[in-house]
Amino acid sequence: MKETITKHISIDPITRLEGHGKIDIFLNDNGDVENCYLMIPELRGFEQFCVGRPVEEMPRITTRLCGVCPEAHHMASAKACDAVFHVEPPSAGRKLRELLYNVFFAGDHALHFYALGGPDFVVGPEAPPAERNILGVIGKVGLEIGKKVIQHRAHYSAIMEILGGKKIHQVTSIPGGVSKGITEEERKKIEGYVVEMVEFGKFSLKIFEDIVIKNKAYVDLIMSDAYSLKIYSMGLVDDKNRVNFYDGKVRVVDCNGKEFVKYSPKEYLDNVAEHVEPWSYLKFPFLKKIGWKGFVEGNEGSIYWATPLSRLNAADGMATPLAQAEYERMFKTLGGKPVHATLATHWARLIELLYASERALELVRDPEITSQDYRTIPTETPTEGVGIVEAPRGTLTHHYVTDERGILTKVNLIVGTTNNNAPIAMSVKKAAMGLIKKGVQVSDGILNKIEMAFRAYDPCFGCATHTLPGQMPLIVRIHNKDGEIIQELKR
C-alpha cells in the first residue's frame, strides 16, 4: 500500500493573523490540497462576563468587541435593549440611529475598498507586494482621488463625533432612543459631508467599472471556479425585501435564489445554530433547520454567508435609486441572481456604500431629524430581547435575558464575521485547490490569489482581527513529512 505523504503549508500571516487567525493547508503526495483549516486563536468571553451587568450598559460595553466596527455592536445592542424593555424609540430617535449607522457603513466600506480589498484589483493581483496597498491605489488612480479618500474618512469621523459622542466606541444609543439630538447647525454640517459621500460612492463605482469591469482578465478571474462558492445567502431586508442595514427581517435564499426562510430577530434561535471544533476558538454557524452537515456546498449543506454580496443576493433590490440602478447592472453583468462569485463581494460592497450614502442623505434631510423628541422612557419590566442589524461583515445578533431589575442573566452574540467562518475556510480551500498543483512553485502571486479569497470577506475575526491599511503579510512554509522546510516564501 502506498503511503500518503502529507505536506503541510501554514499560511501564517504572523503580523496580522498570528495573533488572530491562521490557515493550515495540507497537501497529499499528489501535490493536491488534501484539507484546509482556518483557526481563530482568540476568545474574550463577553457572553459570560457581561452577566451581572445592567443591560442598559451593553451598548457601551459591547462596542469593545471591535474598535473598527463599534457602531455595529452599539446599534445591535441598543436594539436588543429596546426589546428587553419593550420600548420603541420615537421616530426621530430611530432616524438619528439609522443616520449614524448608514454613515458608518459608508465610512467602513470605503476603508475596505481603498485600503484592503481594492488594491488587488486596482493595482493588480500580481503586482509587487510593496505596491499592493493604499499608496499603490493612490498611485494608480491619482492623488486627487487619494485626497478624497482621506477626506471621506475624516468626514465620517466628524459625523461619528456629533452623532455618537465619540469617534470610536460610540455612547449615544440607549434603551428607548438616543441620549442627545442634533441642532440645525449640526444637521447642516452633516448634510454637507453626506452630499460628498454620495458623490464618493458614485465615483468609487466608476473606478471599479473602469479598472475592473472593463478588463476581461479581471472579470474572468471573478467568475472563475476557484473563487466560486455555492452556499445560502443571508441578509436583512425591509418589508419590500429591499436591503436594510438597521432594521427588518433576516432573509435567507438558497443557491438558486429561492427564499429558504425569512425570520424576525426573536426567531433567530429557530434558524441559526453554531458548531464547535476543537482547533478554533471561533464557532461555525449553520442553518439549524438543515443541521450541521460539515463544510459542504450546495442546498444540501447548511452553510450560509452573510456579506455585501449575500445581502444583495438575499434581497429583491435597493431602496434608493442610484444604488438600485447599480444593483441591476451588477446582476445583469454577472449573469443573474444569485451570484456565487466571492470576488464580486467587492462590487456589492461599493453598491452598498452608495446605498448607505443615499439613505443617509434622505435621513439628514428629513425635517424630523432635528426634533427634540428622541427618547422614550421605558416603563415595562425588562425581560428578554434580541437585536439584529447588518454589520458590514455580516448579520449581527445580540440576545439578552435579564432579571426584573434589568440585570443580565444570559447573553448570546453571533457576530458578523462569525457567520462567515465556514465559508472563508471553504473559499480558501477552493482557491488553494485551484492554484496549488504539483510541480508549480508557490509564488507570491499565487499566495496573494489565495489570500484574495479570504480578503473578499473583509474578515474581522473575534470582531477584533481587522486588516487596516496595507496587506496581510504572509509566510508560507511547505514541509515534508519529517517536518523539514522544503520551501519557504515570505512577503
Binding site: I14, E34, R64, K180, P378, G406, G470
Partner: protein
Amino acid sequence: MAKPKLALYWAASCGGCEVTVLDIEEKILDVAAFFDIVFWPCATDFKYKDVEAMPDKSITLCLFNGSIRNSENEKLARLLRAKSVVLVAFGSCAHEGCIPALANLTTKEAIFKTVYLETPSTVNPEKIFPQPTTKVKEGELEIPVFYEKVKSLDQVVDVDYYIPGCPPQSFQVVAVIEAVIDILKNGKPLPPKGTILGAGDKTCCDECPRIRKEKKIKKFVRPHEIIIDPDECLLDQGILCMGPATRSGCGALCVKANVPCRGCYGAPPNVQDQGIKMLSALSSVIDSQDPEEIDKIIGTIADPTGTFYRFSMAHSLLKSADL
C-alpha cells in the same frame, strides 16, 4: 544618523487603538518621516521573526496595546520588552485591562462552559472545547492557551510609561508623539519612569462643562430611567458618573454626549484603585449621616463592581488571590 526605531503591536484588543493612531491623519506622515517603523502588524509587513532577529534594545519606542489574554499575547509582550528601550502600555487594555478584564470577575471554566456549551445557539452534543493542540487526520493543529485571567501589560513585563483611554484620544496621541520627537531630537531628558502620558493631571470633572451644585443624593437612578438634563451635573441628577474617580484627558466626551463617564482614562493621579476612589467620592455626596441609610442609598447602584472597575479590573485591589 540612523532613525529611531518605532514598533506598534496589538495583543488582546479590539483594534480601536490602531484606528486612533490612524486618526491622527496627516501627522502619521511626521511619524513615518522621523521614525523607522520596524514592526506594525496592521500597516507594514514586518514579521514576528524579524523582531526575534533584532538585537535586544534595538527598538527605540514600542507602543503596545491590548491586554494579555493568552499565551500568544504574553510571548509577544516578552519579546517586545526585550527588544525595546522604551515600552509604553498604550490604551486602557494594556494599561489596566479595560472591558475584557471584566472577565476576571468570572473564570476560564465558566467562560468556556457558557460560550461552547450553554449559549442557546450552540449545538455541541459531544461537549467539544477548543484545545491548544488538536490531532486531525492530516497532522496537528495549534492554537494559543487561553489564560485563567486577563492581565495588564505591567503584570507580565516591566513597563516604562502609560497612555490611558479607551481609546486614547487622537489629539493626545499627537501630543505624545510630538513630545517624544522633541526629546529624541533635542536630547531632552525622559520623564520619570511610570509617568502617565497623553492625559491630564486632574479628574474628568475638571473638564466637564456641567453645572455642579451642593450634591445631595437620596437615590441613584439609571441613565435610561430619566430624561437627563444636558446642563446639570449627572451625579446631582442621581446618575452614577465616574467623573470624580477618573483622570482628565479625554475632554469629557461622554458627559458632553449626555451620558455618564465610565472611567476609561483610569484612576486620577495618586490614586491606586479607581473603585475605592469612587466609593470615597460617593460618600461625600450622599445626603445622609446614618450608616444604615447610606448603605441603602449605595444599594440603589446597579452593579457597583462592574461599574467602578469597568476599565480597571486587572489593576483592582479586588483581584482574586490567584492572579
